[in-house]
């Protein structure tokens, strides 16, 4: 049984760190074109920012509404990724060919730039939601059953 921690220091640190981690995750996501990082790392960091409060404050204090729906959000992230890929396929080009995305007024390379950003957001959503979902699944027994 995982019990919530009751130290004030831990609580305060968790409160302070959660938004910082989220901010860093957003930076990693949107700056992935220029520096190390990208959708996957951002998603994992975001998942960490959701998991940290659950570890510290206990599962009751968490976004319990997420619990079973997290995996749906993961599916939506993947649908975003694959949907961006599907648009060119339906237009008669190749799957995932962002150069052929119907964005007006852009060079092919710029379209690819924005296409990459779009799929990175999809990956970030999918990874964050799925990691949280795995975490919830793994500790599901922690609720009523005890040990």
């Amino acid at each position: 049984m995982i019990r919530p921690h009751d130290s004030v220091i831990v609580h305060t640190l968790a409160r302070v760190f959660t938004p910082i981690i989220q901010l860093f995750a957003l930076y990693v996501l949107f700056h992935g074109h220029y520096s190390p990082g990208g959708g996957f790392q951002a998603g994992t960091l975001f998942a960490a920012s959701v998991i940290l409060p659950i570890i510290v404050f206990g599962i009751q204090g968490s976004l319990i509404v997420l619990e079973r729906r997290a995996i749906i959000l993961g599916g939506i992230g993947i649908l975003l990724y694959a949907g961006i890929g599907l648009v060119p396929l339906i237009l008669g080009e190749e799957f995932l060919n962002y150069g052929e995305l119907p964005i007006p007024g852009m060079e092919a390379s710029a379209r690819r730039h924005w296409g990459i950003l779009g799929i990175e957001i999809g990956v970030a959503i999918a990874v964050a939601a799925t990691a949280v979902s795995i975490y919830y699944s793994l500790r599901e027994r922690g609720e009523g059953e005890g040990k």
Binding site: Y34, S35, P36, F40, V127, I134, S137, L138, R141
Partner: protein, 122 residues
């Protein structure tokens, strides 16, 4: 043979980690220990690929200003990095699933030792 051991430390470390990982996965009867072995095996393969990407005096594969500023020889090879990012994700996914199996097995048999589980099945 001897010069490999001296001049390819990465390769030697890779062999040690890889064989250690498989050995633990096959021999150890504790389910979590098996997964620790699996983690070692997967990371050792990442080590193998990353050393393929190294170039002497090469910098990280983020281009400076314009593509023509530096020749390709000046950057580390990005392809193995990409492959290994995927491999890391595959590794953590496999780990998640296998830990779920371990927890489910523990719920049913109340032990993490494979021989005890086999004993309780009979």
């Amino acid at each position: 043979m001897a010069d490999i051991l001296l001049y390819r430390p990465h390769f030697v470390a890779f062999i040690i980690l890889f064989l250690l990982g498989i050995y633990i996965m096959v021999v150890n009867l504790n389910l979590v220990k098996k997964l620790i072995g699996m983690y070692l095996m997967q990371t050792s393969i990442i080590l193998f690929f990353i050393t393929l990407a190294v170039k002497r005096d090469g910098t990280i594969p983020i281009l400076v200003s314009s593509a023509t500023a530096l020749p390709p020889e000046a950057y580390a090879n990005p392809l193995p990095h990409v492959l290994m990012l995927t491999a890391i994700v595959v590794g953590v996914s496999t780990l998640g699933v296998s830990l779920a199996m371990v927890i489910a097995l523990y719920r049913q048999y109340n032990t993490l030792e494979e021989d005890e589980i086999l004993g309780k099945m009979k």
